[in-house]
């Protein structure tokens, strides 16, 4: 485990959905929010963040809109769609199951 901050595949989607469930946000802010909320444990590289955002956009789970940011800058704001909200509940439940299962195994060994 040389790279402890690497995200388990698929979990970045879940993180993005969770964060966007709170409020619409632009890419940079999403990266910041993940860093802060994970207590600096998770660092999301831009090379992972944007492809993930675009994938979610194509799935129509999130949608994007150009807006002026609080620092008076044109930025692309992402927000959750109704489909995305539904997907979030499913993904969260999946994650719950998966992590409980993995924890159970790890503890047992």
């Amino acid at each position: 485990m040389s790279k402890p901050t690497d995200l388990v595949q698929g979990t970045l989607d879940l993180l993005i959905l969770t964060i966007l469930a709170l409020e619409p946000m632009h890419g940079w802010a999403i990266a910041q929010r993940i860093r802060q909320m994970s207590g600096e444990a998770l660092l999301v590289g831009q090379s992972a963040l944007y492809p993930a955002l675009h994938k979610l956009e194509q799935l129509a789970w999130i949608e994007a809109e150009w807006k002026i940011s609080e620092t008076n800058r044109r930025a692309k704001y992402y927000s959750l769609t109704p489909t995305g909200r539904k997907a979030l509940t499913e993904e969260a439940a999946n994650w719950e199951r998966l992590s409980t299962a993995i924890s159970a195994i790890v503890r047992a060994v």
Binding site: R73, R74, A75
Partner: protein
């Protein structure tokens, strides 16, 4: 599906998307820079850090591009490769499905190509929608061409035409250029014919006013005739050729594409009626007109009817009760029977196409059921539904694409075959060409169908959770929903086959009835031929009649010839010589009748073996023209005199003098085998005053035609070396030719019905095989517990035969509303015959029984021990 469409959208708006990504990256870089600066780092340093933290924006943009576009292209490619692998793994299935589709599409495309070219496409003439033909309708409901005076009155009196023209349909001309004289087809036309049709000569000019009045001085030729028969002589416009025995100047060459009035018209000469042809009661001149812009058919009809009712008042003897009928020239030049039959064949072909589709869907469903486990596993491994569906669509696309390609080839072959089959019966055959628009339309429909089939098969399995599909497979009880759909498809196919079989049965039966129609004469041992005399030498009707009287006598003296005679229009082969007949003693408005005119030489009735029902044949003094006499047919006697006795009655035609009816002849079929006889008047040849020099000779002899014909030709040519002899046929051949169109329809339908039977049989066979295979374990257990093979076969067979019964009933019920439609297309309407009906039932039961029993027996024969061990 949004992702699917988003990706298509992305490919289309690539430039904008790229800009979007670029700007987003810029924003991000700026935000990082700001953050760094907020932490107190100098501006230049902050920018550098931002770049370091982000990485190369160009590389990142490249990645984005890949992610957005390539996934979809790549997936499509992958799906197609996967689909072709799947198909290759089961080449029998792939080949079968492709062949079925090719057959279904190809047959339809072939017939539709012909319908489009022959029926739907406008005539190849400028603004052909304004061209109409003007017919006369007699009070008996006949539709006839115009008489010359009527034609002139309609031309002068109308307010709706830009121009009009008169022409004679299908005239035969003698063309001599060394060797034996040849008959060529053409038309005699008035001067304004070419201007009305809107055709220009490619060289030379059309008739001028003076030439339009002379019969044989000038001619116009079709380009290809000029090239083949005259070696494309460049100086042709300064030369004369020999037409009808007279030196004729060629004044113009018309384009090869100009095919009016018929496909084989190659020569046009001035129309100048003579003698009786100028009589108002003599109808032999077709009229066409070009409507003024904006005038409708109804307006033209109304305008001409006013003129016709005036003429009916002025000339009650000839025009009493006659009205006008205006039709589009395009519809006029097409025999409505041909159109109806093509439409009928198209309907049959569509049924075949639906059956082929049903078979392919059924095959796909069967394959799908067999692969349920595979799909289940794939879904469990995380394949999305969309992706699975796309794979189904890719597979059916590949199948239908291949089928479509094969169909195009098949269709073109089919078109050539049909043209060859129809031969002379096909109007505008030269205009039939492969229709790329049609190919495009077929391809579009097929692709649409493929996508639909793919989606339905895919949706079929998704109703159930993936677990069930994996578990089910181990028990092979199969998706019952799939089987139900397949069952209804099989019932549909059987019903279609029943309909096609029944329609074919009726058609064949009516065709047989047609062959057995009593023609009214004895068709055996009759040799017939058409003789065309050079009109330059034979100007008067009496000269023409004299030639045929003499030739008939000469021929009768030939060894082996029993008797010979001549007539101006041979029954069944030729028609269209008719006009009005007035009956003495009837009030003016009732006395005009319409009848076929026939001039005959002395022995005609005895050569043809047409019995006289009453009265007598012509006496020598009547044959020589001294006394006027006529013989009428049964239909005429019944229509005109009813219960009264026609013998001794007086009639008149095209001249005021009265003619005495001396006999009633039995009806013969005149225009075709199927058309009911019309009123007919026979007159002695010598009383002929027209100018048409083409008559037919009939010879009764027990000898084979080949051995007699050289002697007969010699006899004709010794009398007139320039006479052109053609259409040498036995009467049996004449009859066979006249029903060739019906024969083609019957043959094609028989092929279609055979194919339908095979398709329905295949559908049933594969379904029973499939369900029997699914029930193998059950059958094995039953067998092990002591069920006899017979009982097991019954068990499996019952299900299949239930489908046959269901299909049969559906087909028969559908037959009830459809049968009246059928009677429009068949030849001789015959009542539903029980034997034919029973035959259809038996054939269907035999095929259905075989398709059920073979797989049932095979299933029961499988070793039960092995089956149970496999479980």
């Amino acid at each position: 599906m949004p992702s699917f469409f988003t990706r298509i959208w992305n490919v289309l708006r690539w430039g904008r998307l790229d800009d979007d990504v670029r700007e987003e990256v810029e924003t991000h870089l700026a935000l990082i820079e700001e953050e760094e600066r907020a932490n107190g780092i100098a501006s230049a340093e902050a920018r550098r850090n931002a770049r370091l933290r982000f990485g190369n924006p160009a590389v990142y943009r490249e990645q984005m591009r890949e992610a957005n576009r390539a996934i979809w292209l790549d997936n499509l490619w992958q799906d197609l490769r996967f689909a072709s692998r799947q198909l290759l793994r089961n080449p029998g299935f792939a080949l079968g499905a492709v062949l079925l589709l090719a057959l279904g599409i190809g047959v339809n495309a072939a017939i539709f190509t012909i319908i489009r070219s022959v029926v739907l496409r406008p005539l190849a003439l400028p603004e052909s929608d304004r061209l109409v033909s003007v017919l006369q309708r007699t009070k008996g409901g006949f539709e006839t061409p115009q008489s010359w005076p009527d034609l002139l009155d309609l031309r002068e009196g109308n307010h709706v035409f830009e121009s009009t023209a008169g022409f004679q349909q299908d005239t035969t001309f003698i063309f001599s250029s060394g060797g034996e004289a040849l008959n060529i087809k053409g038309s005699r036309v008035t001067r304004d014919y070419f201007a009305t049709l809107g055709v220009q000569p490619i060289a030379g000019r059309v008739f001028d006013a003076a030439e339009g009045e002379g019969r044989n001085r000038v001619a116009m030729l079709r380009e290809d005739f000029w090239k083949t028969a005259l070696g494309a002589d460049p100086a042709i416009l300064q030369k004369n050729i020999l037409i009808n025995g007279q030196s004729t100047a060629v004044i113009g060459i018309l384009p090869a594409a100009f095919r009016f009035p018929s496909t084989d018209s190659v020569i046009w000469m001035p129309l100048v009626p003579v003698g009786m042809e100028r009589n108002r009661g003599f109808h032999a001149f077709s009229m066409l007109g070009r409507l003024k812009p904006g005038v409708t058919l109804t307006q033209a009809q109304a305008d001409l009817e006013i003129i016709m009712s005036r003429l009916a008042r002025e000339y009650p003897d000839q025009n009493g009760g006659h009205t006008a009928k205006v039709v589009r020239l395009q519809d006029w030049s097409l025999d409505e029977h041909i159109r109806d039959r093509l439409v009928f064949l198209q309907i049959a072909a569509l049924a075949l196409f639906l059956m082929a589709c049903a078979n392919v869907s059924s095959l796909l469903l069967a394959r799908y059921s067999a692969r349920r486990a595979e799909f289940g596993v794939r879904m469990a491994l995380g394949a999305s539904r969309m992706r699975q569906m796309r794979q189904h669509v890719a597979e059916s696309l590949l199948l239908t694409g291949l089928g479509c390609m094969a169909a195009v080839g098949l269709a073109w072959g089919g078109v050539r075959f049909l043209i060859w089959l129809y031969g002379d019966e096909m109007p505008r055959a030269s205009e039939i060409s492969p229709d790329w628009k049609l190919v495009g339309a077929v391809a579009a429909v097929t692709i649409g169908g493929a996508v639909a089939i793919g989606f339905t098969t895919a949706l079929h399995g998704q109703a159930k959770g993936l677990g069930t599909s994996i578990r089910e497979d181990s028990r092979t009880t199969a998706g019952m929903k799939g089987v139900l759909t397949r069952k209804s498809l099989v019932v549909f196919q059987i019903a279609c086959a029943v309909l096609l079989l029944a329609a074919t049965g009726e058609t064949l039966q009516s065709f047989r009835a047609l062959l057995q129609v009593d023609l009214g004469f004895d068709r055996r041992h009759l040799i017939t031929m058409r003789v065309n005399l050079p009109s330059a030498k034979y100007r008067q009707g009496a000269e023409i009649a004299g030639f045929f009287e003499k030739t008939a006598t000469d021929m009768s003296a030939l060894p082996g010839v029993g008797k010979a005679a001549a007539i101006n229009m041979l029954p069944i082969a030729e028609w269209g010589f008719n006009g009005s007949v007035n009956v003495e003693g009837l009030p003016p408005l009732d006395r005009a009748f319409f009848a076929e005119y026939r001039w005959i030489t002395s022995d005609y009735f005895s050569v043809m073996a047409i019995p006289l029902l009453r009265g007598r044949i012509f006496l020598p003094e009547e044959m020589s023209g001294k006394n006027k006499a006529a013989i009428v047919n049964e239909t005429m006697a019944r229509k005109v005199w009813g219960e009264k006795d026609p013998l001794g009655a007086h009639i008149s035609m095209f001249s005021p003098e009265w003619i005495t009816v001396v006999g009633i002849a039995r009806d013969v079929r005149q225009t075709s085998v199927s058309a009911a006889p019309s009123p007919e008047v026979y007159m002695p040849a010598k009383s002929y005053t027209g100018s048409f020099p083409t008559w037919s000779v009939v010879i009764r002899s027990a000898l084979p035609a080949e051995s007699l014909v050289p002697g007969i030709r010699r006899a004709i040519h010794s009398e007139e070396p320039e006479a052109a002899v053609d259409h040498v046929k036995t009467m049996d051949e004449v009859v066979a030719d006249s029903v060739s169109a019906q024969r083609i329809v019957a043959t094609l339908l028989l092929c279609f019905a055979g194919l339908a039977l095979v398709l329905a049989g295949l559908g049933l066979y594969s379904l029973v095989t499939f369900t029997a295979a699914a029930r193998l374990p059950e059958l094995a257990i039953r067998g092990a517990l002591g069920a006899t093979p017979r009982a097991l076969i019954q068990l499996v067979g019952r299900e299949g035969m239930a489908l046959v019964a269901a299909g049969l009933i559906t087909g028969l019920v559908a037959m009830i509303p459809l049968r009246p439609l059928l009677t429009k297309y068949v030849f001789e309407v015959t009542p539903v015959s029980l034997p034919a009906f029973v035959l259809v039932l038996l054939v269907l039961l035999a095929v259905g029984g075989a398709a059920v029993l073979v797989p049932a027996i095979r299933a029961v024969r499988t070793d039960p021990i092995r089956v149970l061990r496999q479980e």
